[in-house]
């Protein structure tokens, strides 16, 4: 297959969506700029009400943007209906047609496109095989399980070979085991078809494990776009750090700043380097918030390391243990360590030191 990954599939510029008018107007999306590359698995991540589903519906054509431009494969589609866009959707509730069989559901898109009967039949068979549903082709949606309905919804959306597949929290109705299975199934299908996937979820773990890139959204805005690594390790804002994974926040004072790095003064007085996100250039003496992931701190003997703390309790999670601490000065801190069996759990109330990995500190904006 030709590598087209770097050419843009979806280009969104200055897009906004306002519902209602006057005093009751509600801005669901404001000033969205986003480029999604061909063949990318792109995730819109955020809490409910952040606008991620609205953005998906604008891309699908169910809602028209109030302002801005939306191009799919270099064609402006703002103002066009959903039936005029090379985009298909997997709906959260699947939205399978209850009066049609599984095969008729999958063939619906091609039938509407006016394809020949023979071509529709061939594609339906291919899709049924792709999602391993050939044995249930003649069943009605009400006669198959939730996981199977999910596969049919996927096959139905893939059958017309769209340029972009939109997935609106498609896994949220499945139980944990099925969800894990469908996650790898989705990745496999995306790899096999080469179609650009735009995936909406509020589940940060799902986003981290499946995506090529993630856009974190809040209150109608995109706060940060990046690879799962960038989002996790280099959050630009407090909200992003807080939403993705467990996080410790510390209020610190900047000792000196130089370009993308700064020296900050930790509680207790020790100096440590911290990365600065682009666009944030605090001067010496400024108070900033730094993020420390729980697995990037290590327990050391009291008096050693860069932070002093008191153990509150340990919580055993099987593969790892979460140690809840109070830093000198009272701030809570959670530390995660793998249970390799080498170290005993610290006693509650005992004093410990904390060592931080190089690059563990990331300054975030508020």
């Amino acid at each position: 297959m030709k590598d087209t990954r770097n050419s843009p599939e979806i280009e969104i510029a200055g897009l906004s969506k306002v519902f209602g008018a006057g005093a009751s107007a509600f801005t669901a999306l404001s000033d969205i700029d986003l480029t999604i590359a061909q063949g990318e698995f792109f995730t819109l991540l955020g809490p409910s009400g952040c606008g991620k589903t609205t953005l998906l519906r604008v891309i699908a054509g169910f809602e028209q943007p109030s302002d801005g431009s939306l191009r799919i494969n270099a064609q402006e589609v703002a103002g066009k209906g959903p039936n005029a866009r090379p985009v298909n959707t997997v709906f959260q509730n699947y939205a399978l047609f209850p009066h049609m069989s599984v095969a008729q559901n999958i063939g619906f898109g091609l039938k509407m496109l006016g394809r020949a009967r023979s071509e529709i039949d061939a594609t339906v068979d291919e899709m049924l095989a792709l999602v391993q549903m050939a044995h249930l082709a003649d069943r009605k949606p009400a006669e198959i399980s939730g996981g199977q309905q999910q596969r049919v919804a996927l096959a139905r959306a893939l059958a017309p070979r769209p340029r972009v597949l939109l997935l609106d929290e498609p896994l949220s109705a499945l139980d944990l085991k099925l969800r894990k299975g469908m996650q790898s199934e989705l990745k496999r299908l995306q790899g096999e078809t080469g179609i650009t996937f735009v995936f909406v979820t509020h589940d940060q773990e799902e986003a981290l494990t499946m995506s090529d890139r993630i856009a974190v959204m809040s209150e109608g805005r995109i706060l940060q776009t990046g690879t799962p690594h960038e989002i996790y390790h280099r959050p630009r804002e407090r909200f992003v750090a807080d939403f993705i994974g467990d996080t410790n926040f510390l209020e610190v004072e900047v000792a000196e700043a130089d370009g993308a790095a700064a020296q900050v003064k930790l509680p207790g007085g020790a100096l440590h380097s911290a990365r600065l996100p682009g666009g944030l250039r605090p001067g010496a003496g400024a108070r900033v918030t730094v993020v420390i992931r729980p697995e990037q701190a290590q327990l050391v003997a009291p008096g050693q390391g860069v932070l002093a703390a008191t153990v509150e309790k340990s919580v055993f999670f099987g593969t790892d243990t979460h140690v809840h601490l109070h830093l000198e000065g009272g701030a809570p801190f959670i530390l995660r360590r793998q249970n390799t069996g080498a170290m005993p759990e610290p006693d509650p109330g005992s004093a410990v030191g904390l060592a931080l990995a190089e690059g563990a500190l990331q300054v975030v904006g508020d």
Binding site: A60, G61, F62, G81, P82, N83, V87, N88, T89, F91, N93, A95, L96, F97, P98, H99, F108, G109, M112, L113, K140, A142, R156, A157, P160
Partner: protein, 287 residues
């Protein structure tokens, strides 16, 4: 089980008795007199109909004294040219009026559920359902005067007036089940159709309409029965020689009541039972 509860009753009283009493609290069957009221209601509903059916097979020309089994009144009804004429007129009128009403009601239901809310929507809802709220006698008098004016102007005295009148009051009866069906239908199904390249008309033809069929059939049948039943408005609107079955029967009652009327009523009862049964079977199959 009974033995066990008996043996442990003193110890178990606090734990067992409480939930049992709570479970009984809101069961209407335990209210005093419930059974009697239920039996009385069913008796009042069905006893008159049962007696009507029984006496349609009476050999004697009486509604009170049984004179043996006979089909003579059915024979008389079939051979009565007037009965045949008004029956056919009634069925034709009900079919045409509820057919038009169902079409209009389907469009109205789509227009009030499948668009963005617009100002005056509640007003339109009320206007569509007006025949449910205005007394029939008022509508009847209004139509009489209105149609009289048209008759004078145009000279037309055909069935058009009855069709128009019946259609008008059938619309809300057809509208309500169709609208109910549309409101419970998942709107994402139509979105999904549009997403899969269906034009608005194709989405309606392939998704909305097939799912709407039970509502439309229910609406049509309601309209059909209501039209078949209409006495007041028909009496006001009909021209000479335009008697429908109910107005004909009413006219006959003024003279002498023979079991022929019972036979006709029984036949119509059988017809409506057939329609209702067919509808149930049809909708159950569709799931």
């Amino acid at each position: 089980m009974a033995e066990a509860t008996g043996r442990y009753a003193p110890a178990d009283r606090t734990t067992v008795a409480k939930p049992r009493r709570r479970a009984r609290n809101f069961d209407v069957r335990h209210l005093p007199g419930f059974g009697a009221v239920a039996i009385f209601t069913f008796f009042m509903l069905y006893a008159p109909i049962l007696i009507l059916v029984v006496f349609s097979f009476n050999a004697a020309p009486s509604q009170a004294q049984w004179g043996g089994f006979s089909l003579q009144w059915y024979e008389a009804a079939f051979n009565n040219r007037q009965v045949r004429e008004v029956s056919i007129r009634s069925l034709w009128l009900a079919l045409v009026a509820s057919g038009i009403a169902t079409t209009v009601a389907t469009l109205a239901a789509l227009g009030t559920t499948r668009v963005r809310r617009f100002p005056g929507q509640t007003m339109i809802y009320a206007l569509i359902n007006q025949p449910l709220m205005v007394p029939e006698i008022v509508t009847g008098v209004a139509l009489l005067i209105f149609f009289a004016a048209i008759k004078v102007q145009t000279g037309y005295t055909g069935m058009g007036y009855l069709v128009a009148a019946h259609t008008a009051f059938c619309i809300p009866f057809a509208y309500l089940p169709i609208r109910a069906r549309l409101e419970t239908m998942d709107i994402t199904l139509e979105r999904a159709a549009a997403d899969l390249y269906a034009s608005p008309f194709q989405a309606f033809r392939h998704v909305t309409l097939p799912l709407l069929v039970p509502g439309i059939v229910a609406g049509f049948m309601l309209g059909f029965v209501i039209s078949l039943d209409a006495v007041v408005i028909t009496e006001f609107v009909k021209s000479a020689g335009q008697d429908t079955l109910p107005t004909y029967m009413l006219g006959q009652l003024r003279r002498n009541i023979t079991p022929e009327m019972n036979a006709i009523a029984t036949l119509f009862l059988a017809l409506s039972l057939c329609i209702v049964t067919a509808f149930f079977l049809l909708t159950r199959k569709r799931g």
